[in-house]
Symmetry: C2
Amino acid sequence: MEQQRTYSISDLSREFGITTRTIRYYEDQGLIRPERKGRQRIYSRRDRTRLKLILRGKRLGFPLKEIGEIIDMYNGERGEARQLRHMCARIRDDRAMLLRRRDEIDAVLREMDAIESQCLNSLAEHGE
Amino acid sequence: MEQQRTYSISDLSREFGITTRTIRYYEDQGLIRPERKGRQRIYSRRDRTRLKLILRGKRLGFPLKEIGEIIDMYNGERGEARQLRHMCARIRDDRAMLLRRRDEIDAVLREMDAIESQCLNSLAEHGE
DNA sequence: CGAGCCAGTGACGTTTACGTAAAGGTAAAG
DNA sequence: CTTTACCTTTACGTAAACGTCACTGGCTCG
């Protein structure tokens, strides 16, 4: 049986904790293209996962334009060899960046650990 | 021997690949406070590492205001217990966020691996 | 001593990612 | 039939993070 669930714009706004304005803005920027029943927007499951990807991209710090490009590329028809090679190159770049970013996060986490234990030590002395 | 090196604004702009305008803007926002020789800005080693921290904060997606707060807090006098407890709480929150972000990065990396091998497979078939 | 640099201070412009308000369409519920 | 609850478009507003421009003030090199 087909999972033919659909969502209204406010369904999605509630689910993801964003405003309808934001969702419409993403559409304006060409990031989602929901169907219409008359003027009303009807979001499919695919639209919903697209939105999820957009929000994840945002949390990773990508600008909306790039997010659109990336999602389209990763979903797009990968027919020709040129396309495929281009995609591989992009993946390598993106991965390198993400790895750098993850390393930075790890560095910060280690520093935070150090500071926290200093903190807790001071508190223990004080508290004694 | 004291490492009393100092830097001009263009030294730092070159080193970090940002414009002097950017550095001055950070000063405007209270993120760095270099000394002055007359009107000229003189940056110490501490200023330089501060700048490095700012840029790292940016790459991690923090807004400048928060970056300032965080750096100040982590450098600040941690005397009173209230302060210390506040700091521990903040560290816990920040750490949780960073961990979530790192998990997301890992998820994206895994997906990229999958897509890349698909890509390479297609290329192999085509190329054959 | 003038030309070429680098540094500094406004101050206005720009881009991104929305917020917010105005004005209205539709459909069910009281 | 009006109120309520959503939905729509249009359009101006805004905060963050700079870019850009205009003008000014030392230095120093030939």
